[in-house]
Amino acid sequence: MMQEMTPEEIKEKKPYLDWSLSEEEYDYICDKLLHRLPNYTETGLFSAMWSEHCSYKKSKPVLRLFPTKGPRILQGPGEGAGVVDIGDGQAVVFKAESHNHPTAVEPYQGAATGVGGILRDVFSMGARPVATLDSLHFGELDDAHTRWLLNETVAGIGGYGNCMGIPTVGGELTFDDIYKGNPVMNAMSVGLLDVKDMQKGLAQGEGNAVMYVGAKTGRDGIHGATFASHSFDSEHESQRSAVQVGDPFMEKLLLEACLELTQKHADWLVGIQDMGAAGIVSSSSEMASEGKSGMELNLDLVPQRESGMSAYEIMLSESQERMLLCVKKGHEEDVKKIFDFYDLDAVVIGRITSGHNYVLRHHGEVVCDIPVTSLTEDVLEEPSEEKQPQHMIDDAAKPAWEPEITDLAKTYKQMLAQPTIASKEMFTQTYDSMVRTSTVVGPGEDSGVLRVRGTHKGIAMTTDGNGRFIYLDPEIGGKRAVVEAASNIIASGAEPLAITDCLNFGNPNEPEVFWELHHSVMGIAKACEVLETPVVSGNVSLYNETDDKSIYPTPMVGMVGLVKNLDHLVRDSFQEAGDDLYLVGQTGADYAGSELQKMLTGEISGSLNDLDLDHIKDYQKRLLAQMEAGHVASAHDLSEGGLAVSLAESSFGHGIGAEVACDLTSAELFSETPGRFLVSVPSEYSAEFAAALAGDAVKIGQTAGDSLKLTLQDQAADLPVAELKQIWEEALPCLMKSKD
């Protein structure tokens, strides 16, 4: 074990620089917060809590732009997860989190613990997690290492989620070379809550107990928080070491024990929080800070599975499957009894004190005595320089790329075989999507839908985040991400309620990257305001780069919506032959950043056209009303690959084809103008539908036969559905089998 440095040695040798604390921050802490030099343990705690991952010091100024309030919002950002009222005394609770760096290093455990962490955030609010979604972005599949990363990541998500017994009902999986060294792995958890059972991460009341429950503490992931606040450097492979191992069986027990406590004995509890990044120190200091309390902890009482752990290691360990509780004095044994039933440790490790200090004792000595807020509220926000990316300025000066399609059938088939477009079933089939028998719509459709037991309601959920658009224009791309999510929700017949987000970006010290962050948040905020979907929770993952090459700015939007009556749930697939087909929303020349552009030119370039958010909101509302009236047979939103892909996907479900005759050119068939839908309407409702959507919907044909017969402005094609489906189904299994 390292000999701990003295405060003077720390000041002189500056070991904190390796832990991501800057000299300015260190000096500020000494001079303005402590009025003395911190010891080794204290310096370690500051390094962790002042890291970007824990403090959001660079991103906070930007995150303030998000609209976070609304009539249904019971809890916005700042707690374990966001809480949104769905009526009948119930709420939906959700949050998304990124686990990019751990997944790049040890994909199975990185992904598994990513799922584990986000589940704890949801049940720390007193909600039972009922569904998981994941948003994954990898490099191209011609690389053996990428194939391995993908297989292991999917195995980790399934391994954890299946064992927990929580269905994985949706998500997205895309491929771009830019993610090669930096895969993006975001997990979203959705839970249900009886509003009266809602909990918070709060510790207060002098004499109340601080109780540690769950798995024992080991040396896992020490410096995981600072690990995620650092880019990878290919020269330093040894950096890649701090990955935790998850135990979903332990977490299942922890979940049941915590819910028993929060649902049946809330009167014993003051607050509860999960131990995630920076383990004990972050959860305890945040809870104390929230309660404006002082706290004293005795580290000798922390259950440990390794011997000889220093105070620093105990506080910073990121061992999984642990929660921190603030329990009313006198009820400690009651709480312990609940956890004993599940064979889980439940130990009083400290108390709430008067005053505002955070005091740690170890081996009989005080090893830390600092103001609580010096770890939380007092963290200095860090201003960042920003500069518009040069490629945007260059692209604006160039003429827009116009696709040339000479053979429509060939391009169409090629598109369906693109990895980002092709069927993901080989992966989604390894997730249990049906456990707990509440999944009405599982993976593969626009959004996952769960029924709410005891009611006729459903909740719809989706994750969306097309990095290419944000790369080309962060602000417009940000708007598009929200519109895309809302379209997926509405396509199921649900009303969008709110969003969570994972902001995956490169190095924020690069002015161009920070500009991307700032402007994408502006775009997301604007769209959320207009579409009335506040941001209720979220996560920021920065430094997603290797050797100074950043990923595309990839903000993931996770949206939840409400299906008021499951009788009017709308599916993606054509239901009957003879239904009228409508294209809702105007199609423009939106090829920049499209799958077509990538497929035909191998690159992403150009400027994005802006969106009329108010207009989109307006016709989306009218469309939803038609769905709620039962006038719509099927609806599928248009995204990557445009109408071409939506048409094909809609035909695959029941093998029903279509006859389409319209004004679009073959290029426009692949345009990716956002906010559009392909809707099939039974002929008896067609007139009413057309009237309600007048000006924004065009009849383009009808469902018929077993092929897609297209008569466009410039070309025609007759494509058998069975053939297209086979191409679409076999693309990924074929690519994944390659031997390098």
Partner: protein, 224 residues
């Protein structure tokens, strides 16, 4: 008729079974934690799917030593209906209430999909509501569902008519003789890898499992 749905640490399809019986079939059901040792007052015992004890060592290997197991064995001896799906089937084989064993799927991956089954034997308390030879669709969700028994045991199972369900279109896990579900010799204990409790409501897309529960409700016990 009162049903017990056992909850082992890590069981997670307990709610699926409970709701199928209670809400859909209107039956009298209660959860029984595996720490309990008595099943007095119950007429049938149901072992749910999930990951009891995390599937550590082998799926079902540790669950079969829980307090409740002797009572389950007694129920089986008394001819009462004992039903296990997925992890429940695994536990029943580990406890030797059913022959054979379930091993890792040939594909080595977890698989969740709907498969077609043939009802091979409708002369059991679990399948009386089906037609013999009927084809039904039921969901599966497992990583360790490949049924194995040595040649002698396999022959006995077949000869005794203990095979109740067989995978008819596609064998999703490599089970010998495409076996998806079997009973004990007496016919009162059924274990199956597919999840009939996930196919009892039209809302969720499939009701082929409903008749299995209806069959059980028609029978209180099987005489020795």
């Amino acid at each position: 008729m009162k049903f017990a749905v056992i909850q082992f640490p890590g069981s997670n399809c307990d709610i699926d079974l409970y709701e199928a019986l209670h809400t859909v079939c209107g039956a009298d059901v209660a959860y029984v934690p595996s720490k309990e040792s008595s099943l007095d007052g119950f007429d049938a015992v149901m072992l749910p799917g999930g990951f009891s004890y995390g599937d550590y060592l082998r799926a079902g290997a540790i669950a079969r030593f829980t307090n409740i197991m002797p009572a389950i064995v007694e129920m089986a001896k008394a001819g009462k209906p004992v039903f296990g799906t997925c992890n429940g089937f695994q536990i029943l084989t580990e406890a030797s209430l059913l022959p054979g064993a379930l091993k890792r799927n040939d594909s080595l991956k977890f698989v969740c999909k709907t498969v077609e089954l043939e009802v091979v034997n409708n002369d059991t308390i679990f399948t009386s509501e089906y037609q013999k030879g009927e084809k039904i669709n039921l969901p599966i969700a497992h990583a360790d569902g490949s049924f194995y028994a040595d040649l002698e045991t396999l022959q006995k199972i077949e000869d005794n008519g203990q095979v109740v369900f067989r995978y008819s279109k596609e064998n999703p896990n490599g089970s010998l003789n495409n076996i998806a579900g079997i009973t004990n010799e007496r016919g009162n204990v059924l274990g199956m890898m597919p999840h009939p409790e996930r196919a009892v409501e039209a809302l969720l897309g499939n009701t082929d499992g409903l008749r299995l529960f209806k069959s059980i409700l028609d029978h209180a016990e099987v005489k020795a």
